[in-house]
Symmetry: D2
Subunit: 309 residues, 4 copies
């Protein structure tokens, strides 16, 4: 089952579980896969930033994809294939699609400048991986250094029919959503799925602005699922109440680098991962940080029993 432009709900971003010695922790890989679906996610993405993809070699990346896809048993798994060259991007894309992936995620290459150059990059990427593969455009300027205007996003959507999901993580980004949704309504851009990222820091209002869901790795995807449902049911205040209870932790988690360590630690405390280990080079996870996360979980548990871990 491939992703398409009707995707909605929560698609988590998954970490890659490791044992303390740096080997892939296959037991946790399976448990994590089950967890995301039990939490109500409609699918998830592997080999993104959170997945420590650059620390896996080509064989490991393929093995991880194969394991997860098999365990997902037909539910959609998206694979991050961003790479410095189109040869590696093509190679990984074709292989994971053959293994049963639902689509791939592509971010613009570092250092791209001018609208024309960025648009050409995506045309070339699609030519490289093949126009038959549905893909997610990752619009994340903070990480990639590439900023795309509203007009440029529309242009890339128009030029590439196989683009089906926008992973929207521009910042500020609320008005961008409103503009894109307006263009869909007036017919100047075809309808795509807009799933938000940027760690979900504005998910509450992004829901109000009409996004189709989330594609981010906060360690309580079940909260994201519930907030999404509340919003769809028109229970705006309840959705904000739930989100606000999580905001102190979610905001803490929203720190480049150390945020990955925090997420793995929370997933370990929730019993999903056996260890919080990251492969080297890893950001420092100091005793102060650990104590602060414990404190945040304790405070969150007063509002949300899922945090009693």
């Amino acid at each position: 089952m491939k992703i398409d432009s009707t995707a909605s709900g929560v698609y988590s971003i998954a970490p890659t579980p490791f044992l303390e010695d740096g080997a892939i922790d296959w037991t946790s890989v399976d448990r994590m896969t089950d967890f995301y679906f039990e939490a109500g996610c409609n699918g998830f993405t592997i080999l993104g930033v959170l997945g420590e993809a650059p620390k896996l070699d080509a064989e490991e990346a393929l093995a991880l994809a194969a394991r997860v896809i098999k365990r997902a048993n037909g539910k959609p798994i998206i694979v991050g294939v961003s790479a410095p060259g189109f040869a590696a991007m093509r190679s990984l894309s074709r292989k994971v699609m053959d293994t049963g992936a639902a689509g791939v995620m592509i971010a613009p290459g570092g250092g791209l400048k001018t609208d024309d150059t960025i648009a050409a990059y995506f045309r070339n990427a699609v030519e490289a991986v093949g126009s038959d593969i549905p893909w997610v455009l990752q619009d994340y300027p903070h990480s990639t250094g590439v900023t795309m205007s509203n007009n440029l996003v529309r242009r890339v959507v128009i030029e590439n029919p196989s683009l089906v999901i926008l992973k929207h993580e521009d910042w500020p980004g609320l008005d961008k959503i409103t503009t894109l949704r307006g263009w869909e309504k007036d017919g100047s851009m075809r309808k795509i799925s807009i799933l938000i990222g940027n760690n979900g820091l504005f998910f509450d209002f992004e829901l109000d602005r009409g996004v189709d869901g989330a594609n981010t790795g906060y360690a309580f995807p079940d909260m994201l699922v519930e907030a999404f449902k509340l919003s769809k049911e028109g229970k705006r205040d309840a959705a904000h109440d739930l989100f606000d209870a999580h905001l102190p932790l979610l905001r803490y988690d929203h720190q480049p680098g150390v945020g990955l360590a925090v997420r793995k630690y929370v997933l370990k405390r929730r019993g999903i991962l056996s260890t919080a280990a990251m492969r080297k080079p890893a950001p420092a996870f100091t005793p102060e940080t650990r104590a602060e996360v414990d404190y945040l979980l304790g405070r969150l548990a007063k509002h949300d029993p899922r945090a009693k871990v």
Copy 2:
């Protein structure tokens, strides 16, 4: 009264009030000055990013500084003097200090690379403005594009005795605070004042890590003052409770560009500014944004009566 390394508490960052036609709104300038001190601030900073400094010409900048300094009546006013050249930086610094400013704030110039180049920049800046002027080092990589390691901050502190305050707004930045405070304790760096910025997004834990206060422009400086006091009194949970109540709005406000418009709008709703006008070119402040800020204020008012506006 000049700033020194014992500065503590809250020093707000002030906007520049404008009338709808773009002229400086002197009535609001006075009211705003009074407000910050009534809110419990120990001083505030003008002509920073929030102050729309690049939209004022040299005469206006000096007139604003003179008006605020006079109104502050001896309480410390810090003036942002970052400029592309040392001649303009020197000129503005000498003039505002002659007018009674308490010190100046300097950010590293754009495009600086390598520790040696950045350190040289600050030595040259101090030589330009004069080593008799106490100054605030603004460490804000997201805005300046210049990243300073812990070691480099220490080096700049050591090389420049007139540096008395670090406006800490690196991100992630919690462990940086712990490292710098450790160096002060073990004697490898002299004691300075560390005031936090980055819109206060981590002020709760930054207090836990031992900072001396805040130097940021959130439109409820009275909340920052109260949280600071609670923290100093050892009431950690109460400080977090207060902060968490404000976090949804504070987080919303933490958007580059539009965040300035939001802050001015909230200050207008609080009765401090007569208008929320920004000088051109200004970010869009859409009806959707306005409605969201109103919604946030309504929700906040349930926890904090100061938001009933």
Copy 3:
């Protein structure tokens, strides 16, 4: 006399002459002004990068402009007005135009991203300085960090009728010239003047591609004038022969930072400037560098008697 889109020939970029103590060297200012016109230049630009503009305060900048404009006695002087804010840009522009400047030069502000943002910047700049002031667009990505595609240059030309000259210093840039000249011919862009910069490193082939002249600060503007004439007369080989004789020095001069020191030193050796002094902070001008420039001048003198200095 104002600049317009028929500008052709050589417009030098002028340094700001200083005495050893850092004061402006007014005698050299006059001599330099005379020199450029005696060398065959049709005008020149002050307060550009080569002019150490950020090291002059506002009063000095105006005084320099007034002195040069008066001495030029009606011949066109262009003034660099790039600034971090539109208020300073407007202020300087209006004042120098009142003093008799022929036009201003504007580079895009640092950090601009996306075509739409860059185009908006120039519209705002024109609104700030006034649409009655003819201006030079400085397209110099290496210095500004802002890259403009061919399409974006055309868009800015179309949106701003007061833009009359493109200072073309993109790199690589030869095909950009051909594309823009083609658009002028097919009517999809109005005719402007294209003068080249980037230290003239490709002036030989840029002439072949059809540019209107040069707007750069090589210390032998008389060579640029002669090469331009040879090219216009159809003497392609002779133009290249002359250019190639200068290329070793011109290439040496094409070093960021130290290149300014080299140019001032050559102008001193040519008897134009009394000193080669730069204001602090200045790049190092080591004995090795000085000896290498002397060596280059000696070698050049075998081909061009102007280098016998």
Copy 4:
């Protein structure tokens, strides 16, 4: 035979020859390998920027390395292994060293900031590939966006004993050479080999400053070899005469992107490559560019018979 810190002379940077259909042109690979050694090179580097490395998948990269290493028959082949992640860097490094490579070349990863972060990057890279593999540090800020001060280069040399060659392509860079050579002499840095890059644009004076040779891809490596010999024999003027004759073409070739197309075209005209084809996405190689290169070759041929092609 592995590279070590006594490396001197010319080590070319090799392109990857392709057929018109994009397949690797093995016949040209062999001919090119022979050519570099016949031209007097002591070795060469594959899979650098010029080698279009990102357009080769992992299998192709290994196959190319194996073919070249076998053909070189014991002469040193260096392999570029820069990658976004250490897993890929390690994997490629171990495999090519097993195949007989003489060492690897590593550039700092994109986006690195602060001296401490850059130094940590290289320590991690060495740990990843293994401290037994001798390596070339590529110091090329224009391409990588990472600037290393003189002090930082020294630090990386000291911290990593397996670093044996500095590919020096900082710009400006002449004084950096003098500083580093001075540190070697006064014992504050161990002796390494300094080979220059940056397309050789300053090779003449870099020789005068005492470098050990070149590691760049100009299409006349035989000229670089001859200039190096003349310099070593103390024939400074002759070395400059030879270099200056090539400078117009060498300068032309020094254009990002299109420069690669130019080099392949010149190598084709010299009979080394069967085609000038680049893999997609390739920079435009316009008829104007081609005609200019032909013109430059014609002019060069008057001074150097090697250009009669």
